[in-house]
């Protein structure tokens, strides 16, 4: 195989066949993945401190899963992410339809303001949420799902502009004549929206939902500022464990989170493939 590729000379634009570039890409990928892969591998290592391989074990996974407060934090994070995703999806889609469909006075400032939560540094938004909920006096002693309210509200605020961005990009490819045709054929405003526009938006909505879910699950800084003393999320809990020391339990938990990411990414890519096939069909 190598012999053959050596015989055909490298064309000027075949940069990827140049050794230095291959080496460069290889090293970059090594840089990106080596820490994560070693972390995953050594979560199965039967030794607390040493990096020398001492035998295969799953005991750190058992330990992590038996860790009540860690699992509670994970449950909190998943609940927050699920609720934030649903609400951001509704608000984000409404904003996308509004910006796509209507011309109204002050559209440019509204458009700019919608993009603000994306560009404002996380720390500034965390601080704003801390001050806001302190000022409002958000009660900290509420029963479980309500006690997450402040965090959920903050997460929706930084998630929905991303949903708007994705859905709006999708709406750009919509042929408005289809909606007009539906109305000519007797469909009402709502029926045209539900049967014509919504199906077209669907891939964008799914992509937006996955983005919102990962963003919410990922967030540390804003939650760090908004969470009360009794509500701990997964990243905040891992942060306190990491500050304390590097332990195999954290390796195990991190591995689980990486796997969750890989699964979500796979779903997202499947969706994108479908979306590509659909746009080609048009």
């Amino acid at each position: 195989m190598f012999g053959r590729s050596n015989r055909t000379p490298i064309a000027p634009l075949e940069y990827t066949r140049r050794t230095w570039l291959r080496l460069w890409v290889g090293l970059t990928l090594f840089f990106l993945y080596a820490p994560l892969l070693t972390l995953m591998a050594f979560s199965f290592n039967d030794s607390r401190r040493n990096i020398v391989w001492m035998g295969f074990t799953t005991k750190y996974y058992k330990k992590a899963l038996d860790n009540g407060s860690l699992m509670e934090a994970l449950g909190n994070s998943l609940t927050i992410a699920a609720i934030s995703t649903v609400v951001s999806l509704v608000i984000g889609a409404l904003a996308a339809v509004m910006l796509w469909r209507f011309r109204f006075p002050g559209k440019a400032p509204v458009e700019g303001a919608m993009a603000l939560p994306i560009v404002v540094p996380e720390i500034c938004m965390g601080v704003a949420m801390l001050i806001f909920f302190a000022k409002v006096g958000y009660p900290t002693e509420l029963p479980w799902p309500l006690s997450l309210g402040a965090i959920i509200i903050s997460h929706i605020t930084f998630c929905f502009p991303f949903v708007t961005m994705v859905v709006r990009a999708r709406l750009a490819s919509f042929n408005r004549e289809q909606e007009e045709a539906a109305k000519d054929l007797g469909a009402g405003e709502w029926q045209a929206f539900r049967d014509v526009l919504l199906p077209h938006m669907k891939p964008g909505l799914i992509a937006g939902a996955l983005l919102a879910f990962t963003l919410s699950l990922d967030d540390f800084v804003i939650t760090f500022f908004t969470s009360g003393p009794n509500t701990i999320t997964f990243p905040v809990k891992v942060y306190s464990m990491v500050r304390f020391s590097v332990t195999p339990e954290v390796n195990a938990v991190s591995t689980l989170l990486i796997l969750l990411t890989v699964i979500l990414t796979t779903i997202a890519l499947r969706m994108e493939k479908q979306m590509g096939a659909m746009t080609q069909g048009h």
Partner: protein, 291 residues
Amino acid sequence: MFATIASVPIGWLLLFFIIPMGIVWLYSFGTNAGLTEIKISGTFANYARAIEPLYLTIFAKSVGVAALTTLICLFVGFPVALAIVFATDKWKPWLLLGIMLPFWTNLLVRTYALMAVLRTEGYANQSIGWLHDKFGSLMTLVGMGPPQAYEPMHLLYNNFAVVLGLVYVHLPFMVLPLYAALDRLDKSLIEASLDLGAGHTRTLLNIVAPLALPGIISGLIITFVPALGAYLTPDLLGGPDSQMIANVIERQFKRANDWPFGAALSFLLMYATFIIIALQALKTKRTEGRV
């Protein structure tokens, strides 16, 4: 129809974003009156304190660290983006996925993974130590004296670790816009340049770079802005002298309990961010106007 659709997103943004930001802005002109009470007195004392040498140095240092991170990302990311653009159809999606996947992985997990590599008894030191011992025993075979025992390097809790961590976290931010810009490029122009006798370096500098400039600039900004406001990386990987502006803001709120001063710092960081983004918007407008 418009009112029903518009009221929800605009109302939410106003209530849970604009108003909170407004309160921070007001607080930045306030003074601590009592333990939890803040009086908004319209004073500029917080801003005056923020431009004292101590805080100005930290601000300048944050800008420097973010700029260095961005440049390293550009240097490392450009060839990678170029490779993805010219990769075969079979390889392209996999290379893109390879860059995207770490981008989707939890920031805390990635930072933690880097900590495990860099700490004194981490993988980096252990590997180098192992090599050191192996080569050490080889040296005794050759007849030289046994080498000194391996001293683990201090790779963590310093500025080096912060920059490395920021590059590690932000590299995908750079590669993706670069890829998007290079992919749109008319490849026949590159071929023409090479045909007319320019070398690869000259083609890259005189043809590719100017044409891909908008993409390069947006890549620089998309990397620089979050790097400037980074909190987690300097907090976990940095030492006492590698504080960045976000760490100082956090300390004002969580430990020093000086909310007005923290609010002023936080708004200075926001202004810096906005100025950078506005400059880019202005630049894009001007280039569009010329075409």
